[in-house]
Amino acid sequence: MPTFELNPQMMREIIMDHYSNPRHKGVPTGEGYTKTHSSAVNCIDDIDIYLKSSNGKVVDAMWEGTACTISTASTDIVCEQCIGKDYKDSLYMIEQYLKMIDEKEYDDSVLDEAIVFMNTGKQAARIHCATMGWTAIKEMLEAEEKKGN
């Protein structure tokens, strides 16, 4: 379960906070990052995601680009919540998040702040915005796993 009390006002504030002050936005200066690009046909969203991992763990995750509130906040949150996690836990969290957006049964115990997007499925046109960062990191992690990194 999230460690904060869930009310709509708080949820709004979390989204706006990550939108106005994204913690993980920028192009990394260090080495060892893999990069992927994600964009939307129906929205202006156009972002690059950078992932650094070692020994089966996410060391750092960053993103850069133009994005609406929902994609900015959701991408920033997935970066934040993957850092420090191993691939398995990261992928499990992402899977639960995607189920939540899809309005299927999900395990909310691993979602933490990402729970604020629980109602995004109401706005069909923004589902892609809420998932583009998450799906991109999922694919990057799966590729890392395959490589055995």
């Binding site: 949820m11 133009t66 997007f117 995004t120 109401k122 706005q123």
Partner: protein, 409 residues
């Protein structure tokens, strides 16, 4: 003066109690597409229930009648544009019409170093075909500078045009800012320099009276669905001698005179040489009905109504103190804006949650955003069935723009 409220009764999408997000639908995306009146739907339906037949070679009555209907539709469209029926080519819409000119005319005649002039305000469909032509021929595109507010003027064309310019391809009404381009003046300048002018009429033909003879434009493209007609049908107007010089970019049945086993073929004359294959017959019949319906309302009346709505919308939106408007002075019924401190897409989602359909993003004019200095805008666009109440709903939502995340709660 037109009575929008009365006209709304003709449109099932406006009388069927359609809702979005549980709220009555407010349709402000007419630059994207328009609703269809019953007379259009009935004409399309009647084709399938009473008139089904292919066109061409009417050996039996139903087929002969279909050929007659197509001819009648050509006459209707010709009278809309003040053209000759033989100058009306049926296409799938504006995009196909422009591509027909690009691949059938420009690719055939342009040479390396020739210039195609565009503007930053053009829709993708009036940019990308020309890029392709440049790839094929070695011609180059150049952009005629817009004025500070986004207008294309004769003066700026004069400054840009050169002896190498062969084609000027511009919208008569731009789809984001809604300025009316002085086509007649531009055409005169083009012709003086030996160039032709290819007009994108997608946003002008449905909203104002067009006289291609008076404008002296060489080609003009339009779409049916933006003027109450079906999707997938439109028109390419071309001066007849230019159409004759243009190659079809599709070949096949219905457009050839004869062909043999030696690979030789000869084609029919314009306009049918461009109409290979079975035409979108239901579309053409629907478009014929739509154009008759619109001409009956009167394009001058439609234009006057939209101008009044535009003025009202700009006044009311500005009064909220909560918007940036990018085209307050433009003539068309298009208001392009952003709600203060709200990203365009978020604003459009918020409007959706209130039942209001507006477009957000770059509206397919991807170069224009650099000019406007914003990655995206919200666009509200009107038609003759738009009412002040529709605009009031938009204005009321804009007042509460700061609460845009409510869309998700």
């Amino acid at each position: 003066m037109i009575d929008s409220k009365l006209l709304r009764n003709d449109f099932p999408m406006l009388t069927n109690g359609i809702k979005m997000q549980g709220k009555p639908l407010v349709w402000l995306d007419n630059a994207s597409t328009t609703f269809k009146p019953l007379c259009v739907l009935e004409a399309v339906s009647k084709y399938y229930t009473h008139e089904t037949s292919n066109s061409h070679r009417g050996d039996y009555d139903l087929c002969f009648n279909m050929d007659t209907k197509i001819m009648e539709a050509r006459k209707t469209l010709a009278s809309l544009l003040n053209a000759e029926p033989k100058e009306i080519v049926f296409t799938a819409g504006t995009t196909m019409s422009i591509n027909q000119v690009a691949f059938g005319y420009a690719a055939k005649y342009l040479k390396e170093g020739d210039e195609i002039l565009l503007t930053e305000a053009e829709h993708a469909s009036n940019v990308l075909p020309w890029y392709k032509v440049c790839e094929m021929t070695g011609a180059v595109t150049r952009f005629i500078p817009l004025t500070k507010e986004g207008r294309l003027t004769a003066e700026n064309l004069e400054k840009t045009i050169s002896s190498k310019t062969k084609i000027i391809a511009v919208a008569q009404v731009t789809n984001v800012l809604g300025y009316v381009t002085p086509i007649k003046e531009l055409a005169a300048i083009a012709h003086k320099h030996g160039a032709i002018i290819v007009v994108d009429g997608a946003q002008s033909v449905p909203h104002m009276k067009i006289d291609v003879k008076d404008l002296d434009c060489d080609f003009l493209s339009m779409s049916g669905h933006k003027m109450c007609g079906p999707t997938g049908v439109g028109v390419l107007y071309g001066k007849f001698d230019l159409l004759q010089k243009t190659d079809p970019f599709m070949t096949g049945g219905g457009m050839n005179a004869k062909f043999n086993m030696c690979g030789e073929a000869s084609y029919l004359e314009a306009p049918v040489k461009f109409e290979a294959g079975t035409l979108n017959l239901e579309g053409i019949i629907g478009l014929d009905a739509a154009v008759k319906y619109i001409m009956n309302i009167g394009l001058d009346n439609i234009n006057e109504h939209e101008k009044a709505l535009k003025k009202y919308a700009v006044e009311q939106l500005e009064k909220t103190g909560n918007v940036t408007i990018y085209n307050a002075d433009s003539e068309a019924g298009i208001v392009t804006f952003n709600i203060k401190d709200v990203f365009a897409q978020d604003a459009a989602t918020f409007l959706n949650s209130k039942g209001i359909a507006c477009r957000s993003g770059n509206h397919c004019a991807k170069i224009l955003n650099d000019f406007l200095g914003t990655p995206a805008t919200v666009r509200a666009s009107f038609y003759f069935y738009t009412t002040k109440e529709d605009i009031d709903a938009l204005v009321d939502a804009v007042k509460h723009g700061k609460e845009f995340l409510d869309a998700y709660f």
